[in-house]
Subunit: 358 residues, 2 copies
């Protein structure tokens, strides 16, 4: 097991990465106080792993309640969040109750927001079971739900007490979701570590084949990069925004098709190709880099072309993105492989990218 | 105008108290950044004061949107909160948008929670127009909504950027709401300042008659006490919990009758009589103090007897209170006039108070 530390002073926490962590009660013990522990999971993950976690918690003497949500981005909304509150209140869960998010990014984001909001804040532990959640969404304290008019528009910054990334759970992950997670792994290389990007290129077949060692390094290096960025800019005043590379395009795709049609990682994969294309159009990088990013995204079995929503619709959808300010869309672009920055872009170039990339 | 300061380091803010503040654009100016300012108010307050505030904000060059909610505790729920999000997203309000809560405690709590959650947090200004909001709920950053199973169960600690308490707005307040606000004024005396309690006894007729000078002092002294308590214990780990004097009984009354039947302040008024009775039963104070609290609550035209919900129902409702831990109900009691503490109590004494006080 590898343990990283996200350094946020009082709100800092460990990120444990390894195999068989779900059954290790001692990893939960320091982070689960109070009498109640509430596992929040979904209908897909529950039959696979809920019992392991429940046993670990029960062995610590906790009263364990399991809340099983419907599975999918389409359910990342208030109605589903309310199912958590209903059960917390039904179980008379008090202020010291710890929530345990067992599942992918949707479960983690919703459980985190429930923890942030229940009685104005209770602790929670992230137990990500998808690659996307292990390399990205479980780390950093962004929580929330979608609104019909925008993704993650309602939420909170609320840090978990610990992250337990059990690599073993990736063996049961559907192939499409594995690929979606690789999008964020590629992103970390693209924006922060050219050497890591090159390593992913060289090891993409192993990653696709779920080689445990390759996956462990992909998760570890991703978490290191993310933890470093979050520690230096928790509330996304600057550097942290670069983690949204590919996301402005990606969010437009997700919102335009309706959440859940494409997986988040699929939209981001495609969005990174578009963002690199835009970087090249504006002269920040060579066009060859676009080809390289496109090839790696394709090798990870992710889409490289966006859906035909229409140029104007793309622009409208991007304007309501959280990074927009006063209607001005801000993009994360590359100025070389391994380095990203934020900027506004001329409308013509944006539209050229949309025409080329869709 | 008097200006107090709530000292919370980076999150500290001014509390301005005086007459005619709504029209003073310069008081808003330092706290309203970005292009958009969104006034959140209700159907009762909007026709009286929304235009004043909108003009002040417009004179600063802001694009002003006004969101008018239905009035009353019964609407302090997710559906109403969502009306705010719908309009924020509809207006493409960005991350720098400032919300302005114009109204009583319900508007302030909901606007604050909307500000805490919109795009994971935007700034907001409290412009309380009821006595209750001016002396209590607008100060301290507690925000939230009710759940059918409990009051304020979903929310956040989110501090405003400023509080503008315009005493002039109290002249249009319905008598019942004035009385409800006086409950919290009395509470501040009871838990923290015996001299202030005595001053309220001596000036209750002036307060009932809305004498501006008396009201100003009542608001100022209340805000001083509350600001001091919040500054020393923002997240209610200890001292801040004493501000819930009368509230454990009060919340049970509100929940038992259905939110909105009794005003919060009415339930708290009655709850303080019960909590003092319980303090006396346990020997912490003389029974004469119960009579004194009862007399002042009555003089403020507030109920002194609880509704007949049944003993068991009261106990059940109190068990789900946020202050409960592991089913153990924690009460704020007095150990003398001007000093409060938290404790569990024997069931028999609690039930004796319920039998006597209902």
């Amino acid at each position: 097991m590898i343990t990283l530390k996200l350094d946020l002073g009082e709100r800092g926490y460990p990120i444990h990465i390894g195999s068989g962590l779900l059954a290790q009660a001692d990893l939960f013990a320091p982070h689960v106080r109070g009498r109640h522990a509430v596992i929040v999971t979904n209908t897909t993950v529950a039959p696979l792993y809920a019992e392991h976690v429940a046993q670990s918690l029960a062995s610590l003497g906790k009263q364990v309640v399991t809340v099983t949500l419907p599975d999918g981005e389409a359910y990342k909304n208030w109605q589903t969040l309310n199912l958590i509150f209903d059960q917390l209140l039904g179980a008379q869960a008090d202020r010291k109750t710890t929530l345990v998010a067992l599942g992918g990014g949707v479960v983690g984001d919703m459980t985190g927001f429930a923890a942030a909001s229940y009685m104005r804040g209770v602790p929670f532990v992230q137990v990500p079971t998808t690659l996307l959640a292990q390399v990205d969404s479980s780390v950093g304290g962004k929580t929330g739900i979608n609104h019909p008019l925008g993704k993650n528009m309602i939420g909170a910054f609320w840090q978990p007490s610990a992250v337990l990334a059990d690599i073993g759970t990736l063996q049961t992950l559907p192939e499409r979701e594995l690929a979606a997670g690789l999008a964020e792994v590629i992103k970390h290389g693209a924006i922060a570590d050219a050497e890591f990007f090159t390593w992913i290129e060289a090891n993409i077949d192993k990653l696709n084949a779920r080689d445990p060692q390759a996956l462990t390094w992909a998760v570890q290096r991703s978490c290191e990069i993310k933890a470093h960025v979050v520690a230096s800019d928790e509330r996304e005043q600057g550097l942290r925004a670069t983690l949204n590379f590919g996301h402005t395009f990606g969010h437009a795709i997700e919102a335009g098709l309706g959440y859940g049609e494409w997986l988040h990682g699929e939209a981001v994969g495609c969005g990174m190709v578009m963002a690199t294309d835009l970087s090249a159009r504006l002269g920040f990088v060579e066009p060859a880099l676009t080809a390289r990013v496109r090839a790696l995204v394709a090798a990870a079995r992710l889409p490289v072309k966006g859906p035909a929503l229409g140029e104007d619709r793309y622009v409208d959808l991007m304007r309501v993105d959280k990074k927009a300010e006063g209607g001005d869309i801000r993009f994360v672009l590359l100025n070389r492989l391994g380095q990203a920055f934020m900027t506004s872009v001329p409308d013509d170039d944006l539209r050229a990218t949309l025409r080329a990339g869709v």
